[in-house]
Subunit: 491 residues, 2 copies
Amino acid sequence: MSQQAVNGVSCRGKVLTVENMNPNVKRVEYAVRGPIVQRAVQIEKELREGVKKPFTEVIKANIGDAQAMGQRPITFFRQVLVLCSYPELLEDNKFPEDAKKRARRILDACGGHSIGAYSASQGIECIRQDVARYIERRDGGIPSNPDNIYLSTGASDAIVTILKLLVCGEGRDRTGVMISIPQYPLYSAALADLAAVQINYYLDEDNCWSLNVAELKRALNEAKQHCKPRVLCIINPGNPTGQVQSRQCIEDVIQFAKEEHLFLMADEVYQDNVYAEGCKFHSFKKVLFEMGPEYSSTVEMASFHSTSKCYMGECGFRGGYMEVINMDPEVKAQLTKLVSVRLCPPVPGQALLDLVVNPPQPDEPSYTLFTKERTAVLATLAEKARLTEEIFNEVPGITCNPVQGAMYTFPRITLPQKAIDKAKAEGKVPDMFYCMKLLEEEGICLVPGSGFGQKDGTFHFRMTILPPTEKLKVVLQKIRDFHLRFTNEFS
Amino acid sequence: MSQQAVNGVSCRGKVLTVENMNPNVKRVEYAVRGPIVQRAVQIEKELREGVKKPFTEVIKANIGDAQAMGQRPITFFRQVLVLCSYPELLEDNKFPEDAKKRARRILDACGGHSIGAYSASQGIECIRQDVARYIERRDGGIPSNPDNIYLSTGASDAIVTILKLLVCGEGRDRTGVMISIPQYPLYSAALADLAAVQINYYLDEDNCWSLNVAELKRALNEAKQHCKPRVLCIINPGNPTGQVQSRQCIEDVIQFAKEEHLFLMADEVYQDNVYAEGCKFHSFKKVLFEMGPEYSSTVEMASFHSTSKCYMGECGFRGGYMEVINMDPEVKAQLTKLVSVRLCPPVPGQALLDLVVNPPQPDEPSYTLFTKERTAVLATLAEKARLTEEIFNEVPGITCNPVQGAMYTFPRITLPQKAIDKAKAEGKVPDMFYCMKLLEEEGICLVPGSGFGQKDGTFHFRMTILPPTEKLKVVLQKIRDFHLRFTNEFS
C-alpha cells in the first residue's frame, strides 16, 4: 500500500505546482519589490563578501522607506510607544508629562491595560475618536464620525479590503476598477488577486501629471464594453508621479464619480507631503462636503491614510486608517465582520497612529521639539524635491516634472533605439534593462517605469527623494553620468 | 445634467449594496467576534452608563486574549522591545545586558537601524535564522532552512496566504480543503472568502476529541464527488477542543496526506500549551522527518506559529511565522512575490517573535526571571485546565473532555427540548440562545458551539481558561448555577 502510494505520488509530482496553483496569484506583480530589488539585495551580499564592484554601497531609492534612508523617528512618538510597551517607565522622570498622558490614555483603552491584548477589530475606540477629530480639524470642521473610521495594517490592508467588498460578477459583469497610469502597483496587484478588471486612465505627463476628466470618460466608456466599472481610485498627492491635484480637479472627479455612479477610493497617504509653491492638499472629503448635500449625502467614498509616509515615515509599524463615507449600513456591517476575521491591526501601529492624529499641542512640553523635528523633515524633503527636478532637467535625455508632493520623482528617459533593441534581444523591457545596468554599474536601485505603467513607447523610472541631501546629490550626479554614458554607448 | 444625474443616482441607489457586493464576503462568518461579542460590548457600555444589571462586569471568556484577562507580559520581551523602539535607552543601566544585546542585534538588521523601516517582505533575515534554530532545537536537530521561514502578521495572515496559493478551479474542479469540526472559524471564513470547498471531518468527542483516519477517509471520499480535495488542515493542540494529538495519530495523518496527495497545514500555535499528564507536543515536521525520507522528501506542508498564545500571549503585536516544507521552488517564488505586495509584517511583532524563539539562556542575566515568569504562566494555565474540567463535569447536563492543551474548553451541554423549541421560535440557534441568556443574566461572554461546528443535535460552547484563577472559579460557579436554572426553567 505504502509503496503503491509512493509511486502514485511520484507520478503525480507535487500537490502544489506553479501550473496548478491559484492563477490570480500568478498574475500578481509588484515591481517595488521585484527582480531589481532582489538583485540589489544580492549585490549587497556580494559587497559584504568582498566582491569588488565599482561602488561600495547600494543606495536603495526604490521604496518610500524614510527611516531606512536615515530619517530619524519623531522623539515624542517613540517616547509614547516606549511608555505603552513598558509602563514601569511611567514613573521615570526621563519622559515628558504629555508623553505619559498619551500613553496612559492609550493603555486605559487597551484590554488589561496592555498593548499585548487584541483590540476591537475596527481599532481602539478612543483612537478612532482622535482620528475623527483630526479629520475634522484638517477639513475645517466638516464632521467625521468615529464609527466610520477603521484602523488598518498600513494603508495597503484597508485598500485591499475595500476592493474586496466591491468586486463581484463574471465575464462582462465583472467589476471594473479605474486606476491611474502610472499607478502604485498595490492596485494592479490587488486587482489581479481579486480577478477584477483593471481600467487604466492616463495622467497627463505634459501637464505635470495632472488628471483630466475627459481621459476618465474615455477610459470608462471603453471599459463599459467589457466590464462593469464601479470604482475610481485616485492617489493624491501622486505615487509614483508626485503631482498634487488642484481643488478644481478634485471637484471635477467627484462630479464624474457621481454622474457615473462610481465608488471613490482616495489614497491620501501623502497628505502632509506637499512642497511646490501654490500647491495645497485638499482632501476629497472636504471638497465633497463643500460641493453641497447633493454630493456629500450621496457619493460613496473611502479615504486612506498611513503612519508610513508624511513626516513620520514609520513604515515598520504598519499603522493606518480609512474613513468610509456614505457607505450603506448593511455593507458597513459586512465590512466590520470581514475585518474581524483578522482580529485586529497591530496595536503598536494603532498607538503610533494616535500620536500622528493627536500630536503635542502648543501648551504641552513636547510641542517645541515635535514641531522642530516635523518642520525639519518636511523642509528637507521640499529642498530635495526641488533639487531633484533641477538636476534631472539639466541632463539631456531626461525630463522631469516638478515633484509637487509625495516622495517620488518619475522622470522620463529617452533611450536610444539600439538600447531598446538590445533590451528586447535580451528579453527585457527597455527601462528594466536601463535600471538593471544602472544598478550593476553605479549601485543605485530604482524601479523601472514599466512597473507602474506608462504610455507605450515612453520610458521612465521612479526614484525616491529620501536619501539624505548630500547622498541624494551623489545619486543624481551618478544617474546623470550613467545616462550620458548609456546614451553614448548605444548611439 | 447635474439634476439628471441626481435622479439617476437616486433611482439606482448606492453603488455598493449588500445585494451587489462580493458574495464571498457575505458568506464569511467569524463567531469569535460575532453578535454575542457585540452584545457584550454594548452591555459594558450600559454598565458604564449606570444601567442596573444582575452583575457589575462582563467577563469575556470568548477569545484567547491572555493579557486582556490580566496576564502580565514577559518582562524581558518588553524590555527588548523598548530598547528597539527608543535606542537612547541602550545607555540606561536600568536594562539588563542580554536585553541590550538582543536589541542591538535586531536594530543592526533593520534598515537605518530602525524598527520604523520596512523589513524584507519575508521578514528580517537574522530573525528567520533564529526561527530556524528554534525549530531545530524543538525538533531534536532536524534541520530547518531560514529560506523556508516566512514571518507573518499573526498566524492568521500566513494561513490565509497559503490557502490562497492552493485554491483554484471551478465547479467540481474547485479546491477542497479538509478542516476539523469543531474548527477555529478563521478556516471557514478564509474558505468562504476564497470560495473554496469546505470539507468537514469530525473529531471524536467520545475519545477526547481525537482525530481518526477512518473519519478523514470518509470525509475525503464523500468530497471527491463534488470537488478536488487538495489540503488537509490540522490544529494541534486543538482549538476550540483542547486535545493534544498523539505521535501515532500524527503519523497516521501524515501517511494519509501522502497517500491521498494532500498539502498539509499544521496550525501549531499552541505548541507550548500542553497540560495533561502523558500528553506531549509533537510537531508535524518532526514526525514527518522521523518517518523517513520517503515521507520527509515528498509530503508538502506548512506549519504555523504565533506570538499571541503559549506563555507570552502578545496578541496585540501580531507576530508569527510559518515554515514551508517540500514546497515547489517556483511556488515558493510566487509566495515570496505575493507577500511582498503587503510590504512586510509589523516589525515590532517580528522583534517580539525573535525573543520567543531566542529567549534568555542559562548564562544570561535575564534567565532566572524569564524562566520564573514563563513557568508561572504555564503552571497556572495547567491548574485552570484541571479546575475547569473538574467543575464542569460535576454539573448535571454538562460534560467536558480534559483540557489537554491550548486555552479552551468545549463542553457539551444538554438542552431541554422546550429550550430548543423556544430558541427556534425566536429564530436563534439553540446554543446561541443559551449563551445569549447567560450573557444577559450573568455577564459571562462565551461563544456558542455552532460558531465552530458540531455534530447535528449536539450543543456546546467554547470558553477560554484565561481568567485569573479566582475569577475563573466564579465564572465556573456562575455557569453551573445558570445551567441548573436554565434546565429547570425549560423542563
